[in-house]
Subunit: 445 residues, 2 copies
């Protein structure tokens, strides 16, 4: 069974936990039975691998997300990397071509595309199998999952099926309606569009050729930058005459907004926090190292990260995006494949950053043209390479790097250090990368 898991966008609707680099699907908010917290991505990937049939899961992720995907799922996972964000149609086209050209899957096989963010049980995965089976029958070009609505919400698009059978052809699509219109649609038998599609690979490759001009993986990759941003719904589904929908009435909860996320969390407090006894329905998700105290509140979600603090009524929390769009977009905390970076202080002319390198990992080998840097190791051990020369480093060591100096560090044990950046203009763009493996091999002691 072929599955393309869409790893999703930047998710500002879950600010301040998610940011440009750290998307909602990577937040480790969900407690497993063994007490370990896992992310949406980890949860759905593990669920997919446990449904008991052979699944061939490819994760469609953007370049910025790659290191987070590997960090959470390990290095053996299949990832189709989008060089930049272009919405779901180019991403699905690229992934389909990746399956055919790189993974050598036959174009006549069907594939199921599903988003990473719903909170679901095994019923859902059984439905995915049925969806792929139906797509292989080729009774329609696309088979959609239609979720039986539990409320007349304005958060999803609606699918109007022709009739009330388990499987039906699609009569029409309705964009996110008002709650009043939603009631009317539901009375007419409408289903939620859960963003799950199944089709034969050759179908989407023909669409790619038609719309993007290419359908080979290497071509799509080479021209990816030039594609227009367009969703699969708009580019393909809504224009296609031959679409079927399969009803799904099992558990399904979209984790795209704070209220849904808060409901799905098993503990009222994640991180440091206290909720007084006069409060009810309060959810605290705190990534800062100081406490949050909630007093006399009802149905409120409070979330704090190095990027900011949200305090929101749960019902209203779906509508934070326009405000967040206006905030300074520099992410204060970033997870990397090799560890993490946390901005501690920003001044005009300097930045102070805490870097954690996981055991055995190396940072990028890089230089900066317009800033000096210095490292102070505060714990652990490792080896720094500066302009090709190795230096063993340990707690208390100071490493200074003038602008232009190529530098990296490898952690022998987990290594933490404070990095101080000094320069008139400190920017993420001021980064020249070099080949780390070559540097490691060539470096002298």
């Amino acid at each position: 069974m072929n599955i393309i898991l869409l790893s999703g966008g930047s998710g500002k609707r879950l600010w301040p936990l998610s940011n440009e680099i750290r998307s909602k699907q990577f937040l480790q908010l969900f407690k497993r039975r063994d007490g370990i917290y896992e992310s949406m991505l980890q949860r759905v990937y593990n669920q997919l691998n446990n449904i008991g049939i052979q699944t061939n899961v490819t994760i469609a992720a953007s370049k910025k997300q790659i290191s987070a995907v590997y960090a959470q799922l390990g290095n053996d996972v299949d990832v189709c990397m989008e060089p930049c964000r272009k919405d779901t149609f180019p991403a699905i086209a690229l992934s389909a071509a990746y399956l055919v050209d790189v993974k050598k899957v036959k174009p006549t096989e069907a594939v199921v595309v599903c988003p990473v963010d719903p909170l679901v049980t095994n019923d859902y995965f059984r439905a995915l199998i049925a969806l792929q089976y139906q797509a292989e029958l080729e009774m329609a070009n696309i088979v959609l999952m239609g979720i039986v609505p539990t409320a007349p919400t304005d958060k999803y698009g609606y699918i109007l099926p022709a009739g009330d059978k388990k499987l039906a052809s699609v009569k029409s699509f309705k964009e996110k309606p008002t709650p009043e219109m939603a009631k009317e649609y539901i009375a007419q038998g409408a289903l939620w569009n859960g963003g799950v599609f199944a089709f034969k690979l050759q179908y989407v490759l023909s669409k790619a050729k038609e719309i993007l001009g290419y359908n080979r993986y290497d071509e799509l990759l080479a021209h990816y930058d030039s594609f227009e941003e367009v969703s699969f719904d708009v580019a393909v589904v809504e224009k296609e005459k031959s679409v079927q929908v399969m009803r799904f009435s099992g558990d399904w909860m979209d984790m795209g907004t704070w209220d849904a996320l808060a409901d799905a969390m098993s503990d009222p407090i994640l991180g440091k926090g206290v909720i007084d006894e006069t409060s009810s329905g309060v959810q605290i998700i705190n990534e800062m190292d100081v406490p949050i105290l909630a007093v006399g509140l009802h149905d409120v979600v409070i979330s704090a990260s190095p990027d900011g603090i949200l305090v929101s009524d749960k019902d209203t929390s779906s509508f934070i995006k326009p405000f967040v769009d206006k905030f300074d977009s520099q992410a204060r905390f970033t997870e990397k494949s090799w560890g993490s970076i946390k901005i501690l202080d920003v001044e005009s002319g300097s930045q102070t950053v805490k870097i954690t390198l996981n055991r055995g990992q190396s940072m990028e080998y890089e230089s900066h043209a317009r800033r000096d840097e210095l490292w102070v190791v505060i714990s652990g051990e490792g080896q720094a390479i500066l302009d090709g020369k190795r230096n063993n480093v340990k707690k208390g060591d100071i490493i200074t790097m003038r602008a232009g100096c190529k530098h990296t560090i490898t952690a022998a044990k987990e290594l933490k250090m404070i990095e101080i950046r000094l320069g008139e203009e400190i920017s993420a763009d001021d980064q020249q990368k070099y080949d780390l493996l070559a540097a490691l091999n060539a470096a002298s002691m």
Copy 2:
């Protein structure tokens, strides 16, 4: 006119803005007409100095608060320093002795003692003059201000006067009652106890001799550590038969709790924050450098500092103290007479701190036995003294100090630096101070 201004305690009821070192009276939250923000202390001190008669104001402050008092009021202010906190009776006794022995005020003169935290207008200060005048008449040993209640609150103690005249003798005192009991007291003509007393200096000195065993300034100072903690109300007022109360019906608002403070602030947002249009009655006081977003909230106060985050219903916000008492008490942000210290990161075995030194100011000359330190100057210029040797320092300079090294720094221009502390046990107690003036004079270049 002699006034003792009680600078007040550590004020956990305004957590997270106030902490052990930074008390509520120093928070610069109140906007003056010229747009500058001032603290409770600055506001009341300026009001006292502007009432148009000669006032002799002495500020009773604890040792920990001294640098904040000087930083806010200048170095010419009269401060009677309590070597440690012992509640209001020892503090008032010490201040009275300070007035007589150090300031050479006659013991037959009256003094008015008032707290720093009410938000008041000129009426209040005129009432203080009347109170001192009444005390000098010696019709009673103590004259209190009784504030005409505006609501049956449970936040204050009540005074029951004999009769409803402007001036009356006191029948009895009632500790903070339930709102129901408060209604009953008010029906009987009770007044709020605003913590304002007037008496002749010799009266309180005789009480000091009687209760503490001493009444000379040098004796009280020398034995201060050994005194029991007791309030002036309990030790003196409630036991005294000869007490008068003077009614005050002007503006008076106690700033001791978040709801009162929020009401008194002219802007809904102080610091970085956004309140959405569906919210009402929301107050944001944000000292962090990331934004707070409030959505769909009503009558809520949100306050964030490097010490933590409070989100509270305004009515309930008076009751946060028991929760705050349980939090880790290390203050993350401290204002000093010479600048400020902000803890950026705490790890086992290291701390990273940002230090801001105001122009012309010097840090303490000190050493630490159990930690190494290093400074990285991120802006400004100055001169470091390390074990008696001067070093000019500027942006980008690194200064390392092994455990035991005596060190200080003086800012030629405002100087900011990152201090990294490294050691197995990093504690505020591990500090040996040396004479800075002697060091400055002796230091060699």
